[in-house]
């Protein structure tokens, strides 16, 4: 496999061509080069996928060492690329979804002054992401890790005219630094402990360690900090909602489908280490599930369509962490993949909505768009059904597998919270859907004239992703549902060596019947929520606004007519919305945000104070010099 480098190289060529010649040759050139480069990468990835499936019956991985990167003392790191059953999944997602989104961007970014710049960044992102997933050492992975972060900031602040965008980029930057710090320290710990940064040798050395080895626990925790930062989990999630300031395709590609899931990929890649650290695993699971429920609840009170989706992304990644935290790595990867399809589709659909409404993002000013933009409507519906886990759609299979694994390998409480989150997910997604597409139209009348379905170049990607959101789940239908679970089989070689540990936690007595029961419970909950949302937002849209205003005159009228509804509102929905509101306004905005900004401010003001020491008086400089000398000499004399 000496041609692995072909996968990322085209995107790099794309970066160079777009970056250097894009302005000169115009938008048409860029529109071919940008998506074309990713398309080529995708085609080559497909070839490698087939090669892996058919040529490698034993499930071996391919590693191509490019060159010796560092060899000093006892540390040897080679820069190499790896293709195995794990990385190929990510490669396919990155290049496949990436290609579709590139094509969509051609339409979405049409006539933007920064067109060439946009595709340069986007190609650079795909390149970095491919380096991240194909890296065969922690170091190269870190290179990709930094690269995607960088592209992310560049693209968040893409429309830099607005100061808010620049601030959002800044915030993303600071938060990610904290994560990267953890990652880097983890890297050094690995280096100390194993004298190598190569996945293969580190894992083979680690597998002889005892379960619960404190060093491994420390390493995994540090790496997890990195994952928390990159994948926007509690407490480092604050940057993601703000990251929505970037162009919508960027949100779809980077902040939903690929980059933010890098943390999950990293943990799965290091599953050998994580399985040796049960403590970390439970922390991962708890952080995942808490993030899932917490951000889902915040999602229910957002009015900006993209922010709802952002919180939804955080919540869904929480699911993935839950999965990997209980040891169901395959389930996590499976959800990662299906999530890439339907969340990418949701964002692109939202982009199409925003596009058709000339930039309106507030759902309170939407509604009834069904008749104006039918293709967007239908594909969006598929995505909504997929994310809420309606049976038959891709999200159902993956989410169900996670929930079952949470129950089976983890703890019933995890399952309860997970199902509750599923209910919340259904609530905010249907709410979004109803507010946007159904009911009365509430947009300003002058906008109505311009409403139009997006051009083909934007709708075809929607249809493609819709197809995968619908059918993508069928490659992983679990045995209990009569499927073959090809996905699990495909992934098996990756976990070959750690199979014994991975399966040991499974409770054998949990029967098939129980699995069906749990599945049905979660479906029923989703359906109940669907009915409630239907009641609130479609039949009586005014209740929703009443809720916002708390109790007004309309309350009395409603009380008589919809007695049941009102009890429900007063005792369930209303307190719940209040709690969500508190979550959002206090925890999210004040505490977590405040901590991030606070850190930045502390450093800033420390700098402001310290610079005043530099008074400009040469004698004070001399004084500081002597003071230093005196202290050092004093230390030496009196030590």
């Amino acid at each position: 496999m000496t041609y692995l480098w072909l996968i990322p190289v085209f995107t790099l060529i794309g970066v160079v061509l777009n970056g250097l010649l894009g302005k000169k040759f115009g938008d048409k050139f860029v529109s071919w080069v940008g998506p074309g480069a990713v398309g080529l990468s995708f085609l080559i990835s497909c070839i490698f996928l087939f090669k892996l499936v058919f040529d490698s019956p034993t499930g071996d991985s391919y590693i191509q060492k490019l060159f010796v990167w560092i060899a000093a003392g006892n540390l040897v790191v080679e820069a190499g690329l790896i293709l195995d059953h794990l990385s190929v999944v990510m490669i396919m997602v990155v290049t496949g979804v990436g290609f579709v989104i590139h094509v969509y961007s051609v339409g979405y970014m049409h006539k933007d002054p920064g067109y060439a710049r946009y595709f340069t960044y986007l190609n650079l992102f795909i390149f970095s992401m491919l380096i991240l997933v194909m890296a065969d050492s922690f170091l190269l992975m870190f290179v990709g890790w930094e690269g995607v972060g960088l592209c992310s900031y560049l693209l968040i602040g893409f429309w830099y005219e607005d100061k808010k965008n620049a601030d959002a980029g800044k915030k993303a930057f600071i938060v990610n630094r904290i994560g990267d710090f953890g990652f880097l320290i983890g890297l050094f710990f690995i280096f100390i402990e194993f004298a190598s940064l190569d996945f293969e040798s580190v894992f083979s050395m680690a597998s002889s360690r005892q379960i619960g080895d404190p060093v491994i626990v420390a390493i995994t925790l540090l790496l997890f900090i990195g994952a928390v930062g990159k994948s926007a989990q509690i407490p480092l999630y604050v940057w993601l909602p703000d990251a929505m300031q970037g162009p919508t395709p960027v949100s779809a590609l980077i902040h939903a489908a690929t980059m933010v899931t890098a943390g999950v990929y990293m943990i799965v890649r290091c599953h050998v280490l994580y399985l040796l650290a049960p403590l970390t695993m439970s922390i991962v699971a708890v952080v995942g599930v808490v993030t899932a429920v917490y951000s889902a609840s915040i999602g229910t009170v957002q009015n900006d369509i993209k922010r709802v989706l952002a919180y939804s992304t955080i919540s869904q990644i929480g699911y993935m962490f839950l999965a990997v935290g209980v040891g169901a790595f395959t389930a996590g990867m499976f959800h990662l993949m299906t999530h890439a399809f339907f969340k990418g589709l949701l964002f692109l659909g939202a982009g199409s909505v925003i596009h058709s409404l000339s930039g309106e993002m507030d759902m309170r000013f939407m509604g009834g768009l069904k008749k104006y933009i039918p293709i967007t409507f239908w594909t969006f519906l598929i995505a909504v059904l997929a994310i809420t886990g309606i049976p038959g759609f891709s999200g159902f299979f993956s989410k169900d597998e996670i929930l079952w694994n949470a129950f089976d390998k983890g703890n019933p409480i995890l399952w309860v919270i997970g199902v509750f989150t599923a209910g919340l997910t259904a609530f905010y997604m249907f709410r979004l859907f109803y507010l946007t597409f159904l009911g009365e139209s509430r947009f300003q009348s002058e906008k109505e004239l311009h409403i139009h379905e997006s051009p083909k170049i934007m709708t075809i990607p929607l249809i493609i992703l819709g197809f995968f959101s619908l059918f993508g789940g069928y490659i992983g239908v679990s045995h209990s549902l009569g499927g073959e679970n090809h996905f699990k089989k495909f992934m098996e070689p990756v976990f070959r060596n750690s199979e014994i540990i991975a399966n040991s936690t499974s409770n054998a007595e949990n029967s098939l019947g129980l699995e069906y029961l749990l599945m049905i419970i979660s479906i029923i909950i989703v359906l109940i929520v669907l009915i409630i949302v239907h009641q609130i937002y479609l039949k009586r849209p005014d209740i929703a606004s009443t809720l916002a205003k708390r109790f007004s005159l309309a309350y009395r009228v409603l009380l008589n007519k919809y007695y049941i509804d009102e009890i429900y509102h007063t005792f369930i929905v209303n307190p719940f919305i209040k709690i969500s509101d508190i979550f959002w306004k206090i925890f999210d905005v004040k505490i977590v945000d405040g901590a991030v900004n606070g850190t930045a401010n502390v450093i800033q003001s420390a700098g402001d104070k310290l610079r005043k020491v530099q008074t400009g008086y040469v004698q004070e400089y001399a004084l500081s010099l002597i003071l230093g000398a005196v202290i050092i000499i004093g230390y030496f004399i009196f030590r």
Binding site: L623, I626, V630, I633
Partner: protein, 169 residues
């Protein structure tokens, strides 16, 4: 005799050194610096370093201090209303810190163990060969390279002064 000379010139050196930094008039300061340099030169003589003592008087006290006086006259600064820095904190902290530095030096001197490996140039040898001849010999053999480099330093200084003083640029 040696002790007496040491005490006398040591005392003069310290007092005039103090007066350098206490005098308001820069010209007086310069004169006291000359006095210090001169008494240190005498101490050099006590230490059997006749050549260096001569250089000290000729070059230092003679040439360099003339330059100082010349500069002071040129700038025409006679008196300073305030001789000391207007930074009040600086004076207090500065004196305190230098006092600590002084204590540390004294501590170091009293605590010091022996000296390094002694050479073979005993006072008798110096008396026999003569200090200047010895210095000349070693300067042009063992220390030939530093001697050449010292000329480079002077060349750089010359170029530098021309840069700073040239009329037009």
């Amino acid at each position: 005799m040696e002790f007496i000379l040491f005490y006398i010139f040591g005392f003069i050196a310290v007092v005039s050194a103090l007066l350098i930094i206490l005098q308001k008039n820069p010209i007086y300061s310069a004169v006291f610096l000359i006095l210090t340099l001169f008494s240190v030169a005498i101490l050099f003589l006590l230490l059997n370093a006749q050549f260096v003592a001569a250089v000290q008087v000729l070059v230092y006290a003679g040439a360099i201090m003339t330059l100082f006086l010349f500069a002071i006259m040129l700038l025409n600064i006679k008196y300073e209303e305030k001789a000391f820095s207007k930074l009040a904190n600086l004076k207090i902290t500065g004196i305190f810190v230098t006092f600590v530095l002084f204590i540390e030096f004294m501590y170091m001197i009293f605590l010091r163990k022996g000296l390094g490996i002694a050479g073979n140039i005993s006072p008798e040898k110096v008396a026999e060969v003569g200090n200047v001849e010895l210095i000349g010999k070693i300067l042009f053999t063992k220390y030939l390279f530093p001697f050449e480099v010292a000329s480079l330093v002077l060349l750089v200084a010359m170029v530098g002064v021309i840069v700073l003083a040239k009329k037009k640029f």
